[in-house]
Structures are given as structure tokens and as C-alpha cells.
């Protein structure tokens, strides 16, 4: 019965009679084989440099290829191996030539200078061995100086069509840029494209700043700053770089660890009073504050479920840091992390299926993920100091801070996918920490 319910044909209809093959093999029946051992390797693609006279064509091709390679899911076949040359965007694809070099996906495109400061980027994607286009050709038009975003848009489309997941290339990352020796670190709030391009500094180095968080639409940032002399949550409009303290809080009461609600209209944060940190909600429109936790323990690092109904946070109420989930309106919460060691900085996946966290045990730090009930925990990384996961908008890749030990210890931003594969350092102009991955730009 169970089998029947779970088996559907390609038409979507239930198959009642052919659920399990009968063991007897008729003389004329098909040859039946079972394959249980495949390969997990990057899918090879060919990307002939897009057609077009301007430098943009080569630049755009390069960025698309880098996006795809960077996922670890795709491998670029070097252009000098190509048998076919693509001389016209609308020319017939010579599939055998691409099959011969084992390209499984072929991406062709052209860049047209519109002459009015805009360029048009067109592309097509082909499944080489099925000898068919994969989806429709698409065109993006935009200012010539936003060619990187158009390249990321193409790569997002290719990624999405092949993997079935939405992409994450046309995104930005807020982070903390760091300079100076370990005992006199200067920190600045900065923002960049997800691949490290277009770095922009949003604060100077006069005030210590920590842990930015994006609003759901990417237009605002929350972060903690010592600008007033005391740590306090600030809100910044990214486009205008205008900032203000989130609340007028008297000195001595620290606010930190902020995060937007999924609606972007409210904020949760930690407020410290008399040495005790609890989680509060702050209504951005009215400034009204409501207390969500009330234990004498340290309660911090709140993060909403995507539907806004629950908050995951950390508390040391049982001694060490552990992860709890409570209703959005507050409450005791139920513990979801189990096992020895310390669990902190929980972040709910934008898809709602996992919670990422920092795990600390036996002098090592790890980034891990688990289901939202605490089951299926798995650690993705291990180092002297890994902390502070942030999700790609598709919920399939995580960035975090990795810091090296010792006198010259330095932080850097890394990414890893949720299966623990494809660990890599993210390009930043210098030392960097506390990444916050923004949404797909529209």
C-alpha cells in the first residue's frame, strides 16, 4: 500500500499494477538492470565567449562561467577544446561537436550595444546529449555599467534550469571589513557582490561595528555599532547610507544581535539590562518594544522562520549555549539542539527546511545544519574558529566567518554548500567577517 501511494508515473497518475516487477522474467521481457552507483561530479559545460564587439561580451562570459564553476556543481570545458565555433547567435547548434568534447550543457549568447548607454544580453541553454534547448532563450537589457548583474542574471537562469533550484548569483553580501593588528582591530561596515566585486564601504573605521543583517528586500541593514560609545543597534538605508540608532536607549543598556522579521517591518534583538540579555521585538513604525524572553540566562541570536510564526534563538539557561524555538510572540521555547558541546547563532533557512548554527566542542568550531526539530544534525565544516552562518537566498549555500589562530590570526569569509561540499574562501579586499547574504536582487 505504501509503495503504491508513493509511486507515481510521469503522467502523475497512480500506477496500480506495475508497482513492483514480478520476479519471473518472460522470455521477451525487457532486460532489467539496477544502478546504485553513479558519480557525483561537476556537470561539464561549454560556454563559447558571447558574440559581440565590446569588451563586455568577454567580461560577461567570464563572470557567467565563474558563477557556475563556483557552485562546485559545474565544470567548464576549456575553450581550446571546442570543435565548433559559434559565429552567430541564431546558428544551428552542431550537437555532435559538443558531444565529442563531452559537454553536457552548452551556453551561447550575444551582447549587443544599444548605443544609448544600454546593452542587451541574450543567451540560450542547450542539453547537448538530448539535442534540445533547455528552456527558452532570454534577453536582459540594462545600463552598460551593470553588466555584472546581467551576467549574474544569465548564470542564475542556467543554474536554475539545470538544478531546479533558484539561483543566488545576483545577490549582495554585507560584511565587516577588518584592518590592523589583532589587539587594535579597526572595523568597517561594507557591502559587495556575492563574488567579491563592487566593494563599497558604508562606515568609516572610527567606531567598532559588528554583525550586519539584511532586510528581506535588501534595502536596509541592521548592525551593532559603538558609535555612541556603547554598543547599540543601528539601522541603515543601503542606497543613501543614512543611518540612525534603532532606538533611543540610555547608556549602559546594550542592544545587539538584531534581525528583521520576514515582513521587514519589525526587528528582534537582544537587549542587555544589568548583565542579563533577553530577546525583544521592536516595532519599526511605532518604536514599541515587547519582551519575548525573560529568563536570567543569556538569550540572543534570534532568527525568524520564513513564515514569521516562530523564532529560533540561543540560550545558556542550562549552562552552555543551546538552541531553542519559541512562538513569534515569545515564550519559554523548547530546546531543539541535543548532544554535548555548545550550539549558537541559529539561522533559519529561507526555505524553512533547515536551521544553520555554530557548534563548539573539544576546542573546535563547526558550522552545521539540522532540521527545524533538531533532527538530522550534520556538521559541514571544522576549524579553529568557524562562526556565524548566513544563508544564500536559495537555502542551499552558507557563508560564514573563519578565523585563524595565533598572534597574526585573521578572519575571512568562506562558503560551503549544505551537503558540506565545495568549501571555498570568498574574495574580499582584506580581512573580513560577519557576512550577511542578501536576497536575489530584482
Amino acid at each position: 500500500m505504501l509503495t503504491r501511494r508513493n509511486f507515481i508515473g510521469s503522467s502523475g497518475l497512480l500506477l496500480a499494477s506495475t508497482v513492483l516487477p514480478h520476479v519471473s522474467l518472460a522470455q521477451n521481457g525487457p532486460l532489467r538492470l539496477e544502478i546504485t552507483e553513479g558519480v557525483i561530479e561537476p556537470l561539464p559545460f561549454a560556454l563559447p565567449t558571447f558574440i559581440g564587439a565590446s569588451d563586455a561580451a568577454a567580461d560577461i562570459s567570464r563572470v557567467i562561467a565563474a558563477d557556475l564553476r563556483g557552485t562546485g556543481l559545474f565544470r567548464q570545458i576549456p575553450p581550446d577544446a571546442y570543435i565548433s565555433q559559434v559565429t552567430s547567435f541564431n546558428a544551428e547548434v552542431s550537437y555532435p561537436d559538443w558531444q565529442a568534447i563531452n559537454a553536457q550543457a552548452l551556453i551561447t549568447g550575444e551582447v549587443e550595444d544599444r548605443g544609448d548607454g544600454n546593452i542587451a544580453v541574450r543567451f540560450r541553454l542547450f542539453d547537448v546529449f538530448s539535442q534540445a534547448p533547455l528552456g527558452e532563450g532570454l534577453q536582459f537589457v540594462g545600463p552598460a555599467d551593470s553588466w555584472r548583474r546581467m551576467a549574474h542574471n544569465v548564470a542564475d537562469q542556467v543554474y536554475s534550469r539545470i538544478t531546479g533550484e533558484s539561483g543566488y548569483f545576483d545577490t549582495r553580501v554585507a560584511f565587516i571589513h577588518e584592518e590592523g593588528p589583532k589587539n587594535a582591530r579597526l572595523k568597517r561596515l561594507a557591502i559587495m557582490d556575492y563574488d567579491g566585486a563592487n566593494v563599497q564601504y558604508l562606515t568609516d573605521s572610527r567606531s567598532l561595528v559588528l554583525a550586519p543583517r539584511f532586510s528581506p528586500s535588501g534595502d536596509r541593514l541592521l548592525y551593532t555599532s559603538y558609535e555612541s560609545g556603547f554598543p547599540q543597534v543601528y539601522i541603515m538605508d543601503v542606497a543613501s547610507v543614512q543611518r540612525r540608532p534603532l532606538e533611543a536607549i540610555s547608556g549602559g543598556n546594550m542592544t545587539f544581535s538584531p534581525r528583521f522579521t520576514p515582513s521587514g517591518q519589525n526587528v528582534v534583538l537582544s537587549l542587555e539590562q544589568g548583565g542579563n540579555s533577553d530577546i525583544y521585538g521592536v516595532d519599526l513604525a511605532t518604536g514599541t518594544r515587547s519582551q519575548l524572553t525573560g529568563s536570567p540566562a543569556i538569550e540572543t541570536a534570534p532568527s525568524f522562520s520564513p513564515d514569521g510564526s516562530q523564532i529560533v534563538f540561543e540560550s545558556d539557561r542550562t549552562g552552555g549555549q543551546q538552541i531553542y524555538v519559541m512562538p513569534a510572540g515569545g515564550g519559554e521555547g523548547r530546546r531543539i539542539s541535543t548532544g554535548a558541546g555548545r550550539y549558537g547563532t541559529p539561522v533559519w533557512s529561507p526555505r524553512g527546511d533547515y536551521i544553520a548554527f555554530t557548534y563548539q566542542a573539544d576546542g573546535r568550531f563547526h558550522i552545521g545544519v539540522m532540521r527545524t526539530d533538531g533532527s538530522e544534525q550534520r556538521l559541514l565544516t571544522s576549524s579553529f574558529l568557524d562562526e556565524g552562518p548566513t544563508w544564500a537566498p536559495n537555502g542551499r549555500v552558507i557563508m560564514f566567518t573563519r578565523e585563524t589562530p595565533g598572534d597574526d590570526g585573521a578572519p575571512a569569509v568562506y562558503s560551503v554548500d549544505i551537503s558540506g561540499r565545495n568549501l571555498q574562501r570568498v574574495a574580499t579586499p582584506g580581512m573580513a567577517s560577519d557576512p550577511a547574504w542578501g536576497p536575489l536582487q530584482s
Binding site: N183, A184, A211, F230, G320, G344, T345
Partner: protein, 172 residues
């Protein structure tokens, strides 16, 4: 600001090898505030002047240390804080900012909260010894301002600290 900080560094390294209670830290004014150095070692305002900040920092002792993840005050810490309280009671024109710090073995936000807990423990103790709460403020730096930079317990133990930074005439 950078230069004044660097000038202090060798002194600080030396201090870490001395017994805590006999701390002798030339002109150090707290780890978080990258402020100007204190006065010289002699004469009015110097370390021999019991009403000077140099005396407070070096003779009374401006800092106490904590065990891993803890904010409880050890007997040694209480001895130092008794001296701080007595000094603050005898020098009423001074206010104090109590900095709480953590070592690097923890997540950033938890360490901020832990630093606040440590600073508050010191503040409460000083109040219990008679110092008016209006003269005391706290701030947490979490793990953002280590004083020692190695990644071993020898350094961590010095970084898990609170530092009482006094200032004259700057009423709360």
C-alpha cells in the same frame, strides 16, 4: 590613536608575566577606550599619588579575571574590587566605566552578552561595597578587544577580564 595604543603594547606584555595583585601598568586606561596615556610615574598625578588614576590602575589594580564562560568573582577578584571600592569611596570626584571582555573561544554575540554579565558582576559588587551606582557604568566589548593575542589559555585567561576605567570630573 593607533600610535598611543602601540606604545602601550610592550608594557602590557610585560605585565602579563607579573602577579595579578601586584599589577603595575604604566598609564593604561582600559582596553576598550583607545585613550591617551595616563600621567608619568612620579609626582602629583603619578603612581605615587594615591589620588591619581595611575595609582588606581597600578597599585589598586584596575582589572579582575574570570574563568571560562563564568562571571563569578573569585576571592582574588574580590580582593581587588575591595580596593577599587575603597579607592572610589575616597575619591568621590571619579566615575568608573566597567568594561567586560571575553576570550576568542566563543561566538561574537554570546561573548558580547558574556562581557556584559562580567561587567555587571563587578558593578554589583562595587555597589555592595558602598559605591553609588550613579558613578558606575558598564560596557561590553565581547571578544573585540583582546589584550593578549596568542591563541592559548595563557592569553585567553588574561582576556577574560573586566577593566575598571576611571575618569575624573566627567560626571555620569
Amino acid at each position: 590613536m593607533m600610535t598611543s595604543f602601540f606604545r602601550k603594547a610592550p608594557v602590557v606584555l610585560l605585565v602579563s608575566t607579573l602577579a595579578l595583585a601586584a599589577c603595575s601598568q604604566g598609564g593604561f586606561r582600559g582596553d576598550g577606550a583607545l585613550g591617551a596615556d595616563g600621567a608619568g610615574a612620579a609626582g602629583a598625578g603619578g603612581v605615587n599619588d594615591p589620588t591619581s588614576s595611575a595609582y588606581f590602575n597600578q597599585v589598586v589594580g584596575d582589572r579582575v579575571l574570570f574563568a571560562v564562560d563564568q562571571s563569578t568573582l573569585s576571592p582574588e577578584a574580590q580582593t581587588i574590587l575591595n580596593g577599587q571600592a575603597d579607592w572610589l569611596m575616597s575619591n568621590p570626584e571619579f566615575t568608573a566605566l566597567i568594561e567586560g571582555h571575553a576570550d576568542e573561544q566563543g561566538t561574537r554575540e554570546y561573548n558580547l552578552a558574556l562581557g556584559a554579565r562580567r561587567a555587571a558582576a563587578v558593578q554589583e559588587y562595587l555597589i555592595s561595597r558602598g559605591v553609588p551606582g550613579t558613578r558606575l557604568r558598564t560596557i561590553s566589548y565581547g571578544k573585540e578587544r583582546p589584550i593578549e593575542i596568542c591563541s592559548t589559555e595563557a592569553c585567553y585567561s588574561q582576556n577574560r577580564r573586566s577593566v575598571t576605567v576611571i575618569s575624573a570630573g566627567l560626571g555620569a
